[in-house]
């Protein structure tokens, strides 16, 4: 809501109040503003009178004007096509500063001297959206008979200041100058005065000429008056400049007056051509599929949720949103049928969402004061009489089902202080209610407050408490520490788990990222091992953010590509976030731990020491994490159900207690030419596992014995198979197995490989002898050779 100082001053005397100060005080009572500025920042612009105007002999465009600017007559060259003798115009004198910091200087144009500039409105800083076609192409001849040499900005009403407020959704009352005046009045303790509405009416009676029937409950008030013999012309300067200040384009006196009154009272009005609307006016719900051509020339198909104004032939207006073309005010209009009505906010909201959000619909959605409708319609008649020479027809058509009584709310001083945590006294509270214009009677520390209908936002005690708080000033509120019982705050088990995993993955050189939950259809289908039913947004903003993701990996791949394109060479990422899907008609959010690793894991280039991420580094990271979570010996890596986006030869599933919890591996070369490794584990599944507490186990005091053995074996035999056989054969004494060499190539037949193991034997109760180890070792060799068709490799 743009608030003009001059406009506001009509309702409350603020002439001598600094407008910036007023704006800042409004902020402190809860009304923020975006900007504060003058309509025109131009200086040194005066009213000039063109005494003489002739064409420049050497230019087709320029005119040479002799302009009386009060203290002297100057020669000004003007390029506007509409400049004429005997016009009053706005002249920027030499030395004037126009918006955009344009300084007017003495100039030579086509060999002639020019002492100033005759201004078009856009040169004075008026946005072209407010200008008529004529004003856009030429200068603006001033209306009326101004005094030559006086300040033209003032004459035009452009010396006004405007605060652009950003109002909260509950304060529909502030979408009017009247409401703003009450708010300012509450701050400054000043009275609000309402403008004139008294007008002499002619003998004709509206009831003889029209009938009104309201057939819907969605219209609580419908008032209609009629004004005859109106004359359509340009509005006076003060109306035009105030409309512009309020963000509305002036059109003609009649249209402008309907907007002007809406701004004054917050009550939208609609003017119909009385001759076109016909005798019988009906307010009803639209018939499903009924059509209406609205003022913008578009044919609208209506539903039974839209409210219409109609005559027996059909709809003539879409209530609260837009009038119909068939009853439009045109230059031939003679009589006006004025509507001042209140429609149901939710219906207007629905209709306007489909058709058009307008100044009127915005006000209807937020609620209209039922006591303002009559004031507004009378004010419109007054202005039409005064500025459109209209004759106001007597009497009024009335449909009124609204409750127009003040709301009575009783509240105790104690409750006010309890909620605010303040220590206010009765008198202080009474003053606030008085400043707000609320009548209140105090009895036994209880205030019985009458809230005027204009304050639709105040309905319960807490609403009144807010009024007291904001006007008393929250800056006066002293903070204190709540007195509450002692209680330990806690993180949920999941929180703790996420934090532990995060810390570990970071220690393992992975960077945490946060990416978007919404992905494209294509991304949503990738890495989806469970083939989940997707959650789809019904009103997406774009195709690439349409589906709730089931895997985080497509997002990590996007981050990878972004960084790679910026020449970042080593990329290690992880994210812990939800995946979303539907299962048995329920919406499920399952937390995933996902990561991406690419290129170097550890480097020292000048020493040529480099560890590049490969499958085994990835596997090491995952094992490290799982071991950290206390899951040693409970997980296995095997192929169970791999996403097709993974390299089938370099990827495995992660099984925990034989349950599938995720996958690790290289991204399929078809999806990424780079050797990128990814993992994804279900945190929710991990969390179902119970983990044993740490328990100390006595360390062996006796020395370990190390033995190395190598086998020649079919190259397809997985290492894990050999390890399992060794483990079983090694028994209790075998403490550890490591693979220290895998070799294929020279000296070994094509379908074989050599694989070497370092075995550690130990016993916590005694020193092992070489003989007994050799017995076990021979057993191991024997088992591996027979069970796996391997052969011991001798040096």
């Amino acid at each position: 809501m743009k608030l003009s100082k001059k406009f506001l001053n009509d309702f409350i005397d603020i002439e001598n109040i600094d407008y910036h100060e007023l704006a800042d005080k409004m902020v402190l009572v809860g009304n923020e503003y975006e900007s504060i500025k003058r309509i025109s920042e131009a200086t040194n612009v005066v009213v000039g009178y063109i005494k003489e105007c002739r064409k420049h002999p050497e230019s087709t465009k320029l005119s040479i004007c002799k302009v009386d600017i009060g203290d002297k007559v100057v020669q000004i060259l003007c390029g506007a096509p509409n400049v004429k003798q005997d016009q009053y115009v706005a002249v920027a004198k030499v030395g004037a500063i126009l918006p955009g910091n344009v300084e007017i200087k003495k100039a030579q144009l086509a060999g002639m001297e020019s002492n100033g500039m005759i201004c078009a409105l856009d040169e004075l800083g008026i946005d072209s959206k407010y200008l008529t076609e004529e004003d856009k192409t030429g200068i603006h001849p001033l209306m009326g008979i101004p005094e030559i040499g006086e300040d033209a900005i003032k004459y035009l009403g452009y010396d006004d200041e405007v605060i652009d407020f950003e109002l909260t959704a509950n304060r529909g009352d502030l979408l009017s100058i009247r409401g703003m005046a009450y708010e300012v009045g509450a701050i400054y303790g000043k009275e609000v005065k309402l403008p004139d509405t008294k007008v002499e009416e002619i003998k004709d009676n509206i009831k003889d000429e029209h009938t009104l029937t309201v057939k819907t409950d969605n219209c609580s008030i419908y008032l209609a008056k009629k004004v005859k013999n109106i004359k359509i012309m340009e509005s006076p300067n003060f109306i035009k400049s105030r409309l512009m200040a309020s963000g509305i384009r002036p059109i003609n006196n009649v249209v402008d007056i309907s907007n002007y009154v809406m701004l004054e009272y917050g009550q939208p009005l609609h003017f119909f051509d009385a001759d076109k609307i016909g005798r019988d006016v009906i307010v009803r719900m639209a018939n499903q599929g009924e059509t209406l051509v609205t003022l913008d020339g578009k044919e609208r198909t209506l539903s039974d949720r839209d409210i219409v104004i109609a005559n027996p032939e059909g709809a003539v207006g879409l209530a609260g949103v837009m009038g119909g073309l068939n009853t439009e005010i045109t230059s031939d209009t003679n009589s006006i049928f004025i509507e001042s009505a209140i429609f149901d906010p939710i219906h207007i909201r629905n209709t306007s969402k489909e058709i058009l959000r307008s100044e009127a619909s915005n006000r209807y959605e937020k609620g209209i004061d039922p006591n303002g409708s009559l004031l507004a319609i009378n004010r419109a008649c007054y202005l039409l009489h005064k500025y459109a020479e209209g004759e106001v027809v007597s009497d009024i058509l009335v449909h009124d089902k609204a409750n127009k009584e003040d709301k009575i709310i009783a509240i105790t001083l104690n409750k006010i202080n309890n909620i605010l945590g303040m220590d206010l006294e009765t008198k202080e509270v009474e003053k606030i209610f008085k400043d707000l214009g609320f009548e209140s009677i105090t009895k036994n520390n209880t205030f019985k407050v009458s809230v005027p209908t204009r304050r639709l936002d105040i309905n319960i005690e807490e609403d009144l408490i807010e009024e007291v708080g904001r006007l008393y000033g929250y800056e006066n509120l002293v903070g204190k520490q709540p007195i509450t019982s002692i209680k330990q705050g806690s993180y949920s088990r999941k929180d703790k788990m996420v934090k532990m995993i995060r810390t570990r993955l970071e220690a393992l050189n992975l960077n945490q990222v946060i990416t978007y939950s919404l992905v494209s259809e294509k991304e949503a289908d990738q890495f989806d091992i469970n083939n989940h039913e997707k959650i789809v947004i019904s009103n997406p903003m774009s195709e690439d953010k349409k589906i709730m993701r089931v895997s985080l990996i497509p997002s990590l791949l996007s981050v990878f590509k972004y960084n790679l394109a910026r020449n970042i060479k080593d990329i290690n990422l992880f994210e812990i976030a939800s995946s979303y899907y539907k299962k048995d008609d329920k919406y499920v959010e399952e937390t995933l731990i996902s990561g991406l690793m690419y290129n170097h894991y550890y480097t020292n280039n000048h020493q040529n020491k480099i560890i590049k991420t490969d499958f085994y580094v990835l596997k090491g990271v995952i094992e490290n994490l799982l071991n950290y979570l206390g899951l040693n010996n409970r997980y296995q890596f095997k192929i169970e159900q791999l996403p097709s986006e993974l390299h089938p030869g370099r990827s495995v599933n992660v099984m925990l207690d034989n349950e599938l919890i995720g996958f690790i591996g290289q991204v399929h070369p078809q999806l990424s030419k780079k050797e990128v490794y990814v993992f994804e584990l279900s945190l929710d599944k991990l969390m179902t596992k119970k983990v044993r507490e740490i328990k100390y186990k006595e360390l062996s005091k006796y020395p370990d014995i190390n033995k190395d053995i190598a086998f020649l074996i079919d190259r397809e035999t997985p290492a894990l198979d050999i390890i399992n056989v060794i483990k079983r054969a090694g028994g209790r004494m075998l403490a550890n197995i490591d693979v220290f060499d895998v070799y294929e190539g020279d000296n070994i037949s094509d379908n074989q490989k050599s694989i070497a193991f370092a075995l550690t034997f130990s016993d916590s109760s005694r020193t092992l002898t070489e003989e007994e180890i050799n017995v076990v070792l021979n057993k191991i060799i024997n088992e591996v050779e027979t069970k796996l068709k391997a052969k011991l490799r001798t040096k």
Partner: protein, 353 residues
């Protein structure tokens, strides 16, 4: 005899000055002090002398022994030292060459911010709770005093899945869920961080996905002054000691009174600067007293209980705190950006309070 002693003395000095390693020194020790060494020979000769001479030469020979022993020890030490020195010289590297890259990942700045806020509130007895992101209209709006058709819904254009299911536009539905889940209908102190979504075009200050941290306190005697006191603690912790809080009236359908909370500008201290647009204050969160309708909707009796709620945006806090000017940075995840946050914070965070 005397001559022999002096000669040995001279001889050993000469030989010790020529040795190059410890073994040669030890050989010399054997050659002179060993059983068959030249000093031992002299000692053997003593028996042939008379008592006076025995006394005199005995003392001299003893001195000689001690002298040789000491010299040998010194020489060994010197040799050891020079061997170490040689080793050191050989092993000396160019320490100005670049370090090995020992990588450790970092925490995302939003998570860092959430962690900091969580930690503070947990220390004040709040529980960290969570709620679904795919939420019912019922919890996201209706229970929070935002019935269908309420104009305040415009400010939160939502991603809908069905007419009744949407992506939560705020973490506030967790307020309703927490109150409902509290079967005893007793006091609550909770904080809820999480992802939220609105149909905003992504630009420097808007993101269709962002985070919020919701706080809720329900008790019998909780006022706006308690809210202010609590947020003062918060502002000092997050934005530094000496920060002040300013309340301005605001509007949220689920609180009454509603408050916009400003913190005194931590760049200029309230004098006015470009960060605070010369106002001296920076808006950081929204708050208020829980609306009685919300209490009723969630099974609490507003005549017995009241409380406050607040909601803040970790993105905004991180942007202000670190001077980040484009919210999209958080979701692009440029590693160069993320790496800037891979360390402890200095400044006020680190000062002893």
């Amino acid at each position: 005899m005397k001559y022999k002693i002096i000669k040995i003395q001279e001889e050993i000095d000469g030989k010790l000055s020529e040795v190059t390693n410890t073994k040669e020194v030890l050989d010399l020790k054997v050659a002179y002090l060993g059983k068959k060494g030249s000093v031992s020979e002299l000692t053997n000769m003593l028996s042939k002398l008379d008592i006076e001479e025995k006394k005199e030469y005995g003392a001299l020979i003893n001195n000689l022994k001690q002298d040789i022993n000491q010299k040998i020890e010194v020489t060994i030490e010197k040799l050891a030292e020079s061997e170490i020195n040689k080793k050191i010289e050989k092993e000396t590297i160019d320490t100005t060459l670049p370090a090995s890259n020992i990588g450790v990942g970092g925490t995302h700045p939003i998570t860092k911010t959430i962690d900091e806020v969580e930690e503070l509130f947990v220390s004040m007895g709040y529980d960290v709770v969570e709620g679904p992101e795919v939420e019912l209209d019922l919890y996201n709006f209706e229970k929070l005093n935002l019935p269908k058709g309420h104009p305040a819904r415009d400010a939160q254009d939502s991603f809908y899945i069905t007419d009744e299911v949407l992506l939560r536009t705020q973490t506030s539905p967790v307020q309703a869920r927490t109150m409902e889940a509290n079967l005893e209908k007793g006091p609550i102190r909770m904080i809820c961080p999480g992802k939220t979504y609105r149909r905003d075009d992504d630009d420097a200050t808007h993101s269709h996905q962002f985070h919020q941290i919701e706080g809720l306190v329900i008790d019998k005697d909780i006022s706006l002054a308690d809210l202010k006191g609590t947020l003062e603690v918060f502002a000092k912790k997050v934005f530094g000691e000496g920060r002040k809080i300013r309340f301005r009236p605001g509007f949220f359908p689920f609180t009454e009174p509603s408050i916009e909370v400003d913190v005194s500008c931590f760049k200029c201290g309230g004098e006015g600067c470009s960060l605070c647009k010369n106002i001296g204050w920076i808006e950081i969160l929204g708050a208020g007293m829980v609306h009685p309708n919300v209490l009723i909707n969630c099974g609490y009796d507003p005549d017995k209980y009241q409380g406050f709620a607040f909601g803040m945006g970790p993105e905004r806090i991180a942007m202000l705190k670190y001077g980040i000017n484009d919210i999209r940075n958080f979701y692009i995840n440029d590693l160069r950006f993320l790496n800037m946050f891979n360390r402890i914070n200095g400044g006020d965070d680190n000062e002893t309070k």
